[in-house]
Symmetry: C2
Subunit: 254 residues, 2 copies
């Protein structure tokens, strides 16, 4: 595996799969890396904690960073190139051009500027790596919806592949933020996947999930359109930690 | 020359030069087409009156359209592919992803939303045609500056070529908008290139141009940085017609 720090060292290659990550790799990322390995000749993973997508400074500061561990996981999953630039390599001091998605749902309302940061860094990575396919998890459903729309609206020649959420045995969706939960918080957090699951068959899944999530005071509950699927999505705050999750309502994610 | 209406008919090809236009082709466009012809194996011109970049509805309605004449000029200049889509081919009804340039100078302040429209459509064209080089005129100096910054910030693999402004014998910069000037307005409009030219050697060119343009009530006078050159730029309104122009202060445009 080649570790690349500088844009000038990237060599765009046909049949490349790109897995953009912010590190803190878990089994959800592994599933993306495996799919990329199976479907492409070359696999590029990026490791970049994108400052532009953090709407809360404390969240950026608390974001876990362990490059050595992440590089070992990437290598074990067959990544060919790990692109791990410093922040000023992607955002030089006079950086001044942003990609602004207008339809970002309630997750976008809850996190002003977040999807602008996501859209901008992903378009940059698509232009730098020029992948045939880029891989994202269903867990970040609004992100997947924004990026599907971005590639369509801006005519970017890349396929956005969305893969099913990977969960722990207790049902909690994997997230680097789960490490911040105390044992008590974790057991409360399980109410999120449970409520979404139980509400997904209701006549009005949004109202049902809202009722079931009452004690967790959800930021929002809404239906997100991923193109090939509709999901029921919600965000809750457990202690200091904000968690999102979603379950399939219609269609297929594979 | 092949006339293409639909995105699906475009076939990106190595060594392509792209000349984006809104039609109403004049000798300034011809200079861009000739440079593209000389420097690339394939020349694509686009003909698209981009609604997203008009900040005034009346300006969009008044914009001259004569595809037959434009196509004849393009063909005479050796264009291989003329991309002339309908508006909804580039902006489907639920279009919702914009490229937002933050540094757009006083021209940007005078025309809210204009450079968002320019940046968005140009990125779309770059992604659709995937040219090695794209050609723009010095006359739209802030546009050139915005696009140079866009390709750098968003890592778009295209070279932005900026070619010198072409002028009529009396010194007026060619523009499709010149056709709207009465004879009297035209002679007043000549004060713009004259003032910029006379001010360009002054110790404070901006102040000098402002003084010389006093009777034309300029929207603004400012220095625009094109990377390889600095230009002295101004906008004036003559009757109903808004005109912009600029002259070289430092560097080379070629």
């Amino acid at each position: 595996m080649r570790v690349v720090r500088h844009i000038s060292e990237l060599r765009p290659t046909p049949s490349t799969g790109l897995v953009p990550t912010m590190g803190a790799l878990h089994d959800g990322h592994r599933a993306l890396l495996r799919a990329a390995r199976a479907e492409n000749e070359l696999v590029v993973a990026s490791l970049f904690v994108n400052p532009a997508q953090f709407d809360e400074r404390s969240d950026l500061a608390a974001y876990p960073r362990d490059e050595e561990r992440d590089a070992a996981i990437a290598e074990a999953e067959g990544v060919d190139v790990l692109f791990a630039p410093e922040a000023d390599e992607l955002y030089p001091p006079d950086f001044a051009t942003w990609v602004e998605p207008e339809l970002t749902g309630l997750e976008g309302e809850a996190r002003p500027g977040h999807f602008r940061g996501v859209a901008t860094v992903c378009l940059k990575l698509f232009n730098l790596v020029r992948p045939e396919r880029a891989y994202f998890g269903q867990k970040d459903a609004q992100q997947a919806a924004v990026l599907r729309r971005l590639v369509r609206d801006l005519n970017v020649p890349v396929e956005i592949r969305v893969l099913p959420t990977v969960r722990d045995d207790d049902g909690l969706a994997l997230s680097s933020r789960n490490a911040r939960l105390s044992a008590d918080e974790r057991s409360r957090a399980l109410g999120l996947p449970r409520a979404l699951h139980d509400a997904s068959g209701a006549d009005d899944p949004v109202a049902e999930a809202r009722a079931l999530l009452d004690l967790l005071h959800p930021d929002y509950v809404e239906v997100v359109d991923l193109g090939e699927a509709l999901v029921l999505a919600a965000a809750v705050r457990v202690g200091e930690t904000r968690l999102i999750d979603n379950v399939l309502l219609e269609g297929v994610i594979a």
